[in-house]
Amino acid sequence: MEVAISIITGLMILGALFAIHAKDLLSAVIACGIVGYGLVICFLLLKAPDLAIVQIVVDTITLIMMVAVVLDSSREESFSRLDTFGKIAAATGLIIIVVLFYFFIIASSNLDVLGKSSLRMANAYIHGAAQKTGSANLVTGVVFDFRGYDTMGEAVVLVTAVLGVLTILRLKGKK
């Protein structure tokens, strides 16, 4: 399973790199789709069907909106040459990547094997949630019962995002 996830992650990185450097913006948007759908397959391999369903639906709708926007505006990416400030920014980014990888290698030696760790809270959820909440789907039991505040926060974040979109994308005022 780890080999398959590594291959899919490599494909996702290649798609993301192509999306940055593509000359045609439509092919860049399609290359962004590789990242999303690769993540769906990773979720399915890690036995998380709830996340996979949400990811595949949201990714499809986002892709449709992006394709509509690209077809409506220009399809040409406008490249510009690197000036001094751009070179400084690129060098800073490289230094930050090297530092992050150093700490990542230090931290990954202390982690458990992928999927093998057993936290105390996770064990309590797995063995007692069906009787306590009465829900056969463990994820719904956790999301709406044990972690109700988080779900309410997500709903309120969505409402706030819609309010922001409605405020910005308004040319004519409401009578």
Binding site: V57, A136, N137, M152, L158, V159
Partner: protein, 145 residues
Amino acid sequence: MKGMTIIVKKTAQLIAGMIFMYGIYVIVHGHLTPGGGFAGGVIMAGSLILVILSHGTDFFSLVKEEMGTTIVESAATICVILIATAGFLFGTKVFFNNFLPKGNVGDLVSAGVLPLYNIFVGIEVAASVFIIFLSLIIFKEESPK
């Protein structure tokens, strides 16, 4: 924005209702099978987006649709918070208390208030995604050429 050809229109008319029903199924069975309010809500919004993309924007009065969808979204969010607050009235006085009887694990009507949360969050998510799409289209229609 103009609509597409008659083949696309007829196919969209055939499929959109089934996609909407599938979204309702995913929401209502959220406490039994994978899925739930968020996934089902986005599926329902997808069927509405399919109809608007295939039929063009002259077919519907978009501003009126947007007003109605805004009201539905706000009402669903208030319903979620009201159900959570109702937990103060019964049994242990805590927020998000599961005060209804649990029933048998695996039945369609079980798990107390969890199906109600699923339904209202599903309505709210569907309305939110649909509003974002509608406001993008209205922005394009109203912007000067």
